[in-house]
């Protein structure tokens, strides 16, 4: 990126003004009027074939896994995403129907107002207008504040590398820009993961619950959690039994720090004036004291 003098001055002026005006009212990522793309993952349809994992691995040129994608042995433990695996499938016991375990895919859910992006001081984590939360690796300084902030513990850090990056699902942003769907959606043989705008997906999800009221839990995970996310889940068993955190609340994460950030310009205006005032009073007092001593 080349910055000429004019642009630099504009930028400097702009940032100067924004610093005076204080932080933006909300996370800049939150643009309510834009239709985000997202995924709807119906856990009742997933058969645990791991095609999505394999497609993700190929698409992102991730290292070959120790256990091949055809093996089911990986389900014996609960896995987490890692720098080498942006999406992982886990198997959970099904209380309703013990013969059919539930498979749940874990990856970035692309929050509407992402904590990671509001935490990032270099805009390495960025919410795009299309919906994906992407990672600009050249800006990242590796502070790992996004990992502290993310309620779903999605960003993963390459601890083993001297030149580490954060790794996470970016919703195949490059494919999206060329009009393609994310690789995992194309790979799913059962249409357990479907792609669409968030509004469409919510309609589909509600329709499924409405048409099969006994089959589904009447909750779309990701509709309201931490302000809603691009990727949403349907399930036949309560979400807390599937490793989902149900205690996150519905407040978008950037709002947790907005109160503090509102205070910043206040302090910047009030403190110096109060301090100057106190200083004046103190000098005055000292002078009077000196007068008394002399007199």
């Amino acid at each position: 990126m080349s910055v000429n003098r004019r642009d630099f001055l504009k930028l400097a002026g702009l940032t100067g003004c924004t610093m005076l005006a204080g932080p933006p009212r909300r996370s800049e990522a939150a643009v309510a009027s834009v239709e985000f793309y997202g995924l709807l993952i119906d856990t009742t349809k997933c058969i645990g074939c791991r095609s999505c994992e394999e497609a993700c691995n190929e698409q992102n040129r991730l290292p070959e896994p120790e256990v091949p994608f055809s093996s089911e042995s990986v389900f014996e433990t609960k896995r987490d995403t890692s720098p080498g695996a942006y999406t992982v499938l886990n198997r959970f016991a099904n209380g309703k129907d013990p013969d059919n375990p539930v498979f749940v895919r874990k990856q970035c859910v692309h929050c509407c107002q992402p904590a990671c992006a509001s935490a990032c001081l270099t805009k390495a984590m960025e919410k795009t207008k299309e919906g994906p939360v992407i990672y600009n690796k050249d800006r990242c300084m590796g502070c790992r504040y996004c990992m502290i902030a993310c309620p779903h513990d999605i960003p993963k850090f390459e601890y083993g590398s001297a030149l580490p990056y954060i790794r996470k699902c970016v919703f195949c942003y490059d494919r999206l820009k060329t009009g393609e769907r994310p690789a995992c959606v194309d790979a799913c043989p059962e249409n357990a993961t479907i792609f669409g705008t968030r509004r469409e997906l919510l309609e589909i999800a509600r329709t499924r619950i409405y048409e099969n009221p006994d089959k589904y839990v009447h909750h779309i995970y990701g509709e309201h959690e931490v302000g809603g996310s691009g990727t949403m889940y349907l399930s036949a068993v309560p979400f807390e039994q599937l490793g989902f955190r149900t205690d996150l609340g519905t407040t978008p994460y950037p709002e947790h720090t907005s109160g503090f950030l509102y205070g910043v310009p206040l302090v910047f205006v009030l403190w110096p004036s109060i301090l100057i005032g106190l200083n004046y009073l103190a000098e005055h007092r000292n002078k009077e004291n000196n007068h008394e001593e002399e007199g």
Binding site: M1, V3, L11, A12, T15, T18, P23, P24, E28, D80, A115, A119, C120, L121, T122, K123, A124, N136, R139, C140, M141, G142, C143, R144, Y145, M147, I148, A149, P151, D153, K156, F157, E158, Y159, G160, S161, A162, L163, P164, D247, L248, G249, P254, H256, T257, G259, F260, L261, V264, V267, F268, W271, P272, L275, L278, N279, A282, E283, R285, N286
Partner: protein, 429 residues
């Protein structure tokens, strides 16, 4: 002809000045005093090994030397070095407030050493942040403006660290100018002191609380007894007594170690100053306790007090906030400087505990595999502290840090000719 001589003479004179200045600097770089002392041997070993460990860290990555994990992205390099270190550096803004804003001249003799300590703490402990960053060379990104994350609390903290370091350097620079005998420069920077102080206090308020505000983004990960919307205020208030107790601890040491450097005035008023600082500590501790009680009542997590984490919480509050208040009170009534010094240690431990609780211990208290620091993390931390002490000693032994009262000094300047002052200064360092 004459003019020509001058033209040649001027650069020659400048060159000579530069050469003399370089010689002066070189002579000042040399250690003064004995080299093979127990302190030097121990801290020197820690530093040398520490540098080797830091080299390994940059060659092989963070995973090779730390116990950090995907679950615990921040360990003691952040939780202790940066977050606790900066809290302890709070003494500088508190004392500049007391001396430069409120004009309490009683504390004037210790303000320089406190600012020096604060400045070095920022350089070394905030500098230790670079060890923890995955790509430290990108640390300039939020500063040079190719990517401003304006919604980030960390962005604010980063800028404030930088600006505050400049402020503290300005506040200390009269001592540097006196050391170099730059009278004109000293007059200029001295005039900037009050501005730097006002700006510095504002910045400190914001980034001391900002360090707490960082954790506002982890409501589901920090134990409810430690998480509340008051974290920023609690961090700010606790930085006052953290800073003051550190000033008491530090002056206890410097009073012993640098006894010969300390002016008569400070020697005479030392006890009085410490008792005054203890009074400030008590006030801030009371405010903090009050805040903590409001936080507890507001949060309504009474049931959690009867869990192991709850007991730990009570240890922090009763043992390291309530007890210090009581002990400071006793010390002030008896005018016991010893007890003030002891209680300051105690208070400081409490601050360490609080900062580690928020950033590490109560963070993901539910995780099956907990984080504890590796020996390398601890060693590198000790190395950073040792380096800071070395630089501190170097400065104390050369610059007029424990200066006499300015009026007395001015009077001396008036009476004694300049050459005499230089000789006096040389004999004092």
């Amino acid at each position: 002809m004459k003019r020509k001589d001058n033209d040649i003479g001027r650069p020659r004179k400048a060159l000579r000045d530069v050469r003399e200045f370089a010689r002066f600097l070189a002579s000042e770089m040399k250690p003064k005093g004995k080299i093979w002392t127990p302190f030097n041997i121990i801290s020197g070993t820690i530093i040398v090994v520490g540098i080797a460990l830091i080299a390994i860290r940059f060659y092989k990555g963070l995973g090779a030397v730390t116990n950090l994990s995907q679950d615990y992205p921040w360990g003691i390099w952040i939780g202790f070095d940066v977050i606790t270190g900066v809290a302890f550096a709070g003494g500088a803004y508190v004392l500049t407030f007391v001396v430069h804003i409120m004009k309490f001249e009683k504390y004037e003799p210790i303000v320089r050493v406190t600012v020096l300590n604060g400045f070095l703490a920022y350089v070394f402990y905030a500098g230790a942040l670079l060890l923890d960053l995955g790509r430290p060379w990108n640390v300039v990104n939020p500063i040079i403006g190719n990517s401003f994350g304006l919604s980030s609390v960390l962005f604010l903290v980063a800028w404030h660290f930088l600006l505050y370091m400049i402020c503290e350097f300005l506040e200390f620079s009269p001592a540097v100018a006196e050391w170099l005998n730059w009278e004109k420069a000293r007059r200029v920077v001295e005039k900037m002191t009050i501005g730097a102080v006002i700006f510095g206090i504002t910045l400190s308020t914001l980034h001391q609380s900002g360090l707490g505000a960082l954790f506002l983004l982890a409501p589901a990960k920090i134990h409810p007894l430690w998480y509340s919307h008051y974290i920023p205020v609690a961090f700010f208030v606790s930085s006052i007594f953290a800073g003051l107790s550190m000033v008491i601890i530090e002056s206890t040491f410097t009073h012993k170690v640098f006894h010969d450097k300390i002016g008569n005035r400070l020697r005479a008023s030392h006890d009085d100053i410490l008792l005054g600082l203890a009074k400030g500590c008590i006030g801030a501790l009371f405010a903090y306790l009050f805040l903590k009680v409001i936080e507890l009542v507001h949060g309504g997590h009474w049931d959690l007090l009867a869990t192991p984490m709850g007991y730990w919480y009570l240890v922090e509050i009763l043992g390291f906030v309530v007890l210090p208040i009581f002990l400071f009170g006793v010390a002030l009534r008896k005018r016991s400087v010893r007890l003030v010094q002891f209680t300051s240690f105690f208070t400081a431990i409490g601050v360490v505990l609080n900062r580690l609780n928020v950033s590490v211990i109560a963070f993901k208290w539910y995780a099956p595999v907990r984080y504890y620091p590796s020996w390398i993390e601890i060693w590198v931390t000790l190395a950073v502290i040792s380096m800071e002490l070395w630089v501190f000693r170097w400065v104390i032994n050369r610059m007029p840090v424990f200066k006499e009262h300015p009026e007395e000094k001015e009077a001396m300047d008036d009476i004694i000719p300049v050459g005499e002052v230089v000789r006096w200064k040389a004999s004092a360092s």
